[in-house]
Symmetry: C2
Subunit: 351 residues, 2 copies
């Protein structure tokens, strides 16, 4: 057995990071939220790249379902390449970034602020150029991240988004769940990944599936499989997969499916049934209670159980927290170093 | 040589469809545009699935760059599953659909209208339930589409979006280019696909790349490769590919790259250079003049030329119009019927 990768040890730090977030940054969140409650924005827009963009996609679902604010992703090229004159009046624009140093994100933030948006940056590194361009700043507080593949900074982004929603809605349940998360994440799960790892050891293609809140972590998982395992993984929502991508699902085609305890669950279970009919190789990642309650439906499915479910938003954190070590171990099995991909660097510049 | 597929013959109808769109639907466009010019919306949102969602993504770029209106995609699950109470006041919401019959799109449209948006549906079939739920309606006018893989309805969606922008901005150049498109598309291109087809005949994975306006057609191409060729194709923007997916690009890894004559071109050419360094197999699809002007940079790249460039928006139409017959011929070469995928039906219901 090889020594633990940075990808695994940095994932393990998530628990104490989430705990620290409950103390650091709160005055800014309260000041910002009071302003947004007083003058509700007509829309929100996100600025992010790579893994941070998946956290921004999670923010879109969270803002639309919990706050009723339509939320869009800003494609940086509309500003950096096409020099677009977008009117951001009455909008709330926020960026998520690990380094806060990408030129394209900085340019988008500066434009949004100039064009009238309330602006926020959520960045891991302090005193970054991105922080300086935005009116409000909240640190991720994830500490130095050395692995090329982001893990703890992604999880810290998700929890900052949940925290923002919890304060904006004054939702005490959500605040309580955030407080429970560190303990849940620090518990070692005795069930290991052996059978799921074997299923993917020699594969070249895989699809990752989520629905609603879990779709952003399907995106994140697909990116991590590419980065660390050289495996062509692609994410689809449980809704879109039947529009075309289903053509790939033949006998033994591998799929990773995320299950969460909310209104999306029954549709995802029906999808798994369709995949089982095709005799696909299915790996389900879900809270142990969801797996237990649906064990008959999952009889031809390899399961990776997580801690019990808190709520749909916080479940997303426990699900991806369980996925990262799995990806790191799969990389080892495929004779790769998950911390040092062959073609990639930690800071990516956009061409 | 097999007889021509429906996918190819329906693509060929695009020319006369675009011509017909210049007469049909204009009074509605003018009425709608006058209202939107008088009360500019603070944001726009799109409702669509599958290929139509790629046309909606093109609309996002076109609206943001040409009209300055921030535009988001509505994930139907926020309404159908999470019953979200989104405030659409001061928004412009439009749906794109071939059949206009999908329950989830209809539910989103009804909610957006009730919650205060100006609503438009752009649908191919007349008297659809979606049309009835929206205040304004413009027909795609693409005629009956029999192939499971959408082609002419996608192209007709792109041109309706361009038409909407041309009228909204009162942009006479854009109107003139739309008028030239039918003639350009009806010209047979003597250069055939042979060498590009051979490159992909036995591949299992491919990435498709666009930047800015061409990113939505990279998405559309990836979907078509899956549907018709059983080929795991995935789209990335030229910006995002260096954040992770680049790890897949090893020697002989196949890539399709779209080039357009605008500010995105130099970045895309730099990317091609990076792919050439890795000795990847690269296929570039571009206007013949762009290929000619950059032939030294493209010396290790297989090219598929289209008609000369009109402008970045209309170029997207000529590019995808050239791609569809390529995908159909690749399907034949891989011993598949492009019109009859194994797992798919024409109308897809969301689970």
């Amino acid at each position: 057995m090889s020594s633990q990768s940075l990808m695994e040890s940095e994932t393990e730090e998530s628990s104490s990071i989430i705990e620290s977030q409950q103390k650091i940054g709160l005055p800014v969140i309260e000041e910002l939220v009071q302003r947004l409650q007083k003058h509700p924005p007509y829309f929100a827009s996100t600025i992010a790249r790579g893994s941070s963009d998946h956290a921004a996609y999670f923010a879109k679902y969270a803002f639309e379902t919990q706050l009723g604010v339509p939320t869009s992703s800003i494609a940086p090229s509309v500003h950096t390449i096409y020099k677009s004159n977008i009117n951001y009046k009455n909008g709330f624009v926020f960026a998520i970034s690990q380094s806060g140093k990408s030129d394209d994100l900085i340019e988008c933030m500066a434009t949004a602020r100039k064009k009238g948006a309330v602006t926020l940056s959520i960045v891991n590194e302090l005193n970054s150029p991105l922080e300086k361009e935005s009116e409000y700043f909240i640190p991720l507080n994830a500490g130095k991240e050395s692995s090329v593949a982001a893990t703890k900074s992604f999880i810290a982004s998700l929890t900052r988004v949940i925290q923002l929603v919890a304060f904006w809605r004054q939702n005490q349940d959500l605040k309580n769940h955030l407080a429970q998360l560190p303990c849940l994440l620090s518990q070692k799960n005795s069930e290991q990944y052996h059978s799921a790892l074997q299923l993917l050891q020699h594969e070249k293609s895989v699809l990752t599936i989520g629905r609603g809140f879990t779709f952003p972590i399907a995106l994140e998982s697909a990116l991590k499989f590419k980065e660390t395992c050289g495996l062509h993984a692609e994410a689809f929502s449980g809704a879109e997969i039947l529009h075309g991508p289903f053509e790939l699902v033949q006998k033994n085609f591998p799929l990773i499916v995320y299950l969460q305890k909310d209104e999306a669950l029954s549709g995802i279970l029906k999808l798994i049934d369709k995949f089982q009919e095709k005799e696909a190789k299915i790996i389900a990642i879900a809270a142990e209670n969801i797996i237990e309650e649906n064990k008959n439906l999952l009889k031809n499915t390899t399961v990776i159980p997580t801690a019990p479910s808190l709520d749909s938003l916080c479940d997303v954190v426990t699900l991806i927290h369980r996925f990262y070590p799995f990806a790191a171990q799969l990389a080892h099995l495929r004779e790769r170093n998950p911390d040092l991909p062959k073609n990639l660097n930690k800071v990516t510049s956009t061409i």
